[in-house]
């Protein structure tokens, strides 16, 4: 693998966003994910290669470290930010169709619930795994989920809830999705949600951490 891709992967794993980022100390003053991704493209490395050989593997390591409690949420967010700073250079290639993603992932916090940190974290990790994210935000009602599914055929859907009171809305939305689009896969998550609850409401998968969701999603990857 190209030395640039190795450097890029390291920057993402350790949250080195750009040259100005002071962390990690051993890279102080050096280029970060932002500059290296740009340079990799300028030197003719294919966007697909940048995504598949540097960004996705780095984020997989980050997700795995988080699951094993080697790192914590802040470091995962730093890594995700570094990944985003590299990803912005790839966006034109996604838009032109030259580079394909694994698929689309629609995500939202269910109606009545305004909590978004867990949802954002999951969205960033799934984006880092090579998926296009359609983030519907917070307090998302069933109709909005259904419209997004209609507009994005083949997308997988993630629903988040942090309150026991709003879990009821999660149930209603999952039932409506399954009733209208039986083939759509649904993932659920949030502090009060469990695998038992997931099965009870007819959702397809629950994971207590983002990497579990990424691993599950990979079976539906289009590339």
């Amino acid at each position: 693998m190209s030395e640039l891709l190795t450097q890029l992967s390291y920057c993402v794993e350790f949250g080195k966003i750009d040259k100005a980022s002071p962390y990690p100390p051993n890279l102080k003053g050096q280029e970060g994910a932002d500059e290296i991704a740009r340079r990799a493209l300028d030197e003719g490395i294919k966007p697909d290669e940048i995504l598949d050989k540097a960004l996705i593997p780095a984020m997989a390591i980050v997700g795995d470290k988080f699951t094993k409690k080697i790192i914590y949420v802040p470091q995962m967010l730093m890594a995700a930010k570094a990944m985003s700073s590299a990803m912005k250079h790839l966006k034109p290639y996604f838009q032109s169709g030259e580079t394909k993603r694994k698929g689309k992932f629609i995500i939202g916090t269910v109606s009545g619930d305004l909590h978004d940190i867990g949802k954002n974290l999951v969205a960033m990790m799934i984006e880092g795994a090579g998926w296009e994210i359609i983030d519907l935000g917070v307090d998302v009602n069933t109709d909005k989920f259904l419209k997004a599914i209609n507009d994005n055929p083949g997308a997988v859907v993630g629903l988040s809830a942090l309150l026991t009171t709003t879990m009821e809305h999660m149930k209603k939305t999952v039932e409506a999705i399954k009733g209208n689009y039986s083939g759509v896969t649904t993932l659920v998550g949030g502090a009060p949600v469990t695998m038992d609850y997931c099965l009870k409401i007819g959702a397809d998968f629950y994971s207590p951490d983002p990497q579990g969701a990424v691993n599950y999603l990979n079976q539906f990857a289009l590339k």
């Binding site: 962390y23 914590y72 949420v73 470091q75 730093m78 930010k81 954002n120 974290l121 009171t165 809305h169």
Partner: protein, 229 residues
């Protein structure tokens, strides 16, 4: 019915970087240089923008239904669940409290997230939660001190959403206090506005004991926030 209102300053709360790192999941003694610097920066901002308020009201008109583990306050029946019922049932009176760290912290958190600084947004959120919990702790200290003069003790504080008490019961608590009490309102899904707010009850009586934390009473053994003391 008596009650009291408090306004605190951030410096009263005894929150430090170490507390915040623990709240973010870092084990005792483990830190991260870059995160430390951001926590220090955000904490200074929070000190300037937070609006720490607390209020409590004491209700003497209470009764207990042992068979169904229900507490009636005036005419409102609270289904606190067995864990809280056991801790509260020796109380002669109940203090119903609400506390808030104000709206600005969550605004900053959302703005940072919107502007792609998710880490800073997350740290605002964590510090906001720590601030409102510490505010509740101070209010509880004041209540304990006040009750001591009448030879009364207090229990731990218990909130809907914890120790098996359904968060929807928050509507019942808010039905017992005036609208906009402590500048907090409740959404239909029982979410408080501002989000960085807590509500709950504290038992008052001669035979109660305030423990170091409520975690020992709770069934959620794997909870991220579980305290060992």
């Amino acid at each position: 019915m008596t009650g009291k209102t408090f306004q605190f300053e951030f410096r009263d709360l005894n929150i430090n970087v170490d507390n915040i790192e623990r709240a973010m999941g870092y084990p005792e003694g483990e830190s991260h240089e870059a995160i430390y610097d951001i926590v220090v920066k955000v904490m200074k901002q929070v000190e300037a923008i937070c609006d720490l308020k607390a209020e409590y009201r004491i209700f003497n008109d209470i009764s207990y239904d042992d068979a169904n583990r229900r507490i009636t306050v005036q005419r409102t029946v609270l289904n606190t669940g067995k864990i809280i019922y056991r801790q509260i049932k020796k109380s002669d009176a109940l203090a119903l409290f609400v506390c808030t760290a104000g709206r600005e912290i969550e605004e900053r958190s959302r703005t940072a997230m919107r502007e792609s600084d998710v880490l800073e947004g997350y740290i605002y959120d964590i510090i906001g939660s720590a601030a409102v919990e510490a505010t509740a702790e101070l209010m509880q200290d004041e209540l304990e001190h006040f009750m001591k003069s009448s030879d009364l003790k207090i229990s731990n504080r218990f909130s809907p959403g914890y120790c098996g008490w359904d968060v929807a019961e928050q509507h019942k608590l808010f039905g017992l206090i005036p609208d906009n009490y402590c500048a907090i309102s409740l959404t239909s899904s029982a979410l408080m506005d501002p989000v960085k707010s807590v509500s709950g009850i504290i038992g008052i009586g001669p035979d109660l004991k305030r423990q170091a934390s409520t975690c020992r009473f709770c069934d959620m053994k794997d909870c991220l926030y579980r305290r060992q003391d």
